[in-house]
């Protein structure tokens, strides 16, 4: 199966602590790297991934809070210093465009690659990017500033050829592509072999939802129905539910409720408030609602 992995670079909130860096993740989808948020220190944490940061094609930013973007100027500079020439596409709320332009003008005057900014309407759930292998949808979130999550969906692949049947019917190589597209095969003797005997179904499509800073909103689960992996912020425990509402954040229980209602396969929580010495309380409260929950940490890699 083609790679679809999520690497956590940072999963703390607000400020770096001894345990966590601020928010940043990389998604590796079939070798294309998508950077999602970029808190300070992301380029340091990057090294654990073993990935080549010149392979970042797109950056998706959730909102204009420093703990989600202060690592980006350094990363843009570093890619320039290391000789990047491929254009970089950055997607995010419109109020981050000036941040990128300011960085570009004042600190990256001599980089040799283009930066294209796409301002996202953070109030709309819509397709914002697609290519041959993926679709990326915006997820309108509710935070103190315009904020947007992202749903990354693999496009369906082609069915798999049953090698032994191809051999048995001596089907030539030139016909394989059409059989993958759904054609049947007629033998030299005129026998029609239905496509279903020649192929097995394509791999199931996988998807990843990045639900960044947000208070609990019911629509989110609808937009993320049947998602393979949901990352959902879980800044607070039950005891701080009022704080979560005040600051536009979620509790671990609210994150788990969203995952359950979305019928997600797995839930990954993060963006922990620094008050929790041990995040086990967040995990426990989430698991009461959605059992297949895990805690993010800075060296975590999840294969979907």
């Amino acid at each position: 199966m083609q790679p679809f992995e999520v690497h956590i670079l940072g999963c703390g909130s607000a400020l770096p602590t001894r345990k966590h860096l601020p928010s940043a993740q990389v998604v590796n989808l079939r070798g294309k790297l998508l950077l999602i948020d970029c808190g300070e220190g992301a380029q340091l944490a990057w090294r654990h991934t073993g990935l080549n940061w010149q392979h970042i094609t797109h950056v998706f930013l959730s909102h204009a809070h420093g703990d989600h973007v202060f690592g980006l100027p350094g990363l843009l500079s570093t890619m320039g210093l290391l000789g990047r020439t491929a254009p970089l596409f950055i997607h995010g709320p419109s109020n981050l465009q000036t941040f990128i332009e300011f960085t570009r003008t004042h600190f990256c005057a001599d980089i040799d690659y283009e930066i294209h900014y796409q301002a996202i309407d953070t109030t709309q759930h819509q397709l914002i990017f697609e290519d041959r292998s993926m679709e990326v949808w915006s997820l309108p979130l509710q935070h103190r500033v315009p904020c947007c999550g992202y749903l990354i969906k693999e496009k369906p692949g082609l069915p798999h050829i049953r090698r032994e049947m191809i051999d048995y019917y001596q089907i030539p190589t030139w016909a394989i592509g059409r059989i993958k597209e759904g054609d049947d095969w007629t033998t030299a003797e005129g026998e029609l072999i239905p496509n279903s005997r020649l192929t097995t179904p394509a791999d199931p499509v996988r998807s990843y939802a990045y639900c960044s800073d947000t208070m609990a909103i019911p629509l989110l689960a609808e937009w993320c129905q049947d998602v393979t992996l949901m990352y959902h912020e879980a800044t607070y425990a039950d005891a701080e539910t009022a704080l979560a509402e005040k600051y536009g954040h979620s509790t671990a229980r609210q994150a788990a409720t969203c995952a359950r209602n979305a019928h997600a396969r797995q839930l990954l929580i993060g963006h922990y408030s620094a008050r929790y010495e041990n995040e086990q309380i967040l995990l426990n409260e989430a698991k009461e609602v959605f059992a297949n929950t895990i805690l993010a940490n800075e060296k975590l890699r999840i294969t979907l």
Copy 2:
């Protein structure tokens, strides 16, 4: 003796590597903390110092390259989140003022402390700040952009009282302050005790020169005469002397020549190019000119 310490937070150049963070230092002068440059990750490295970052009173920035300032937005935010109310004074070239203002406007709207920016004329060697305990002088440097080093000089302290003489002559407490200021003492019997018998000399004044990115310039040694500790960038080894000139940097040998000509007591080198797996070559070449040279590293603390 009152503390005068330099803590290295980062001493690499251009981009963070596995070994070094970009430039950042803290000077602790009698409990006042001065932050000098602030590369990305400075607030992470800060923790090794055991210092309280709310005690930072002043920030001195050398120039508008990302590897010297990209850690500042995060630090400004963090101090706000942790409840700072004391004003912060930032000094640096005029072209960094918009960077601070941009950060303040877009990412620190709700901090509860004032930020005052003092634009430094990077072409003048002059007193830019003083208080009861120190003077800070600008050091005009030669780099690809306006660039400024800083010379931090302790002000002379008062002489020390010789406790045993005070006891012997039964000098009352109220007179101690005047004796420290230079007064003699007349006993009840009319005997004049000269000040020199009652005091020992004040501690020698100490000074620290931060010579950031610069090509070799002879005047620098004159401005830093008899400095206690000189930090001087040493990006390259002898073999890369042409590169040093091209990019406005110094070799380790040029740094050592500056320290020797300034009659510095000790030289600290840093801002190493990432090409050197082992910085021993830089140290060796510097020591050929100035023996009392040491290499900076991210956990180094030097007491002057």
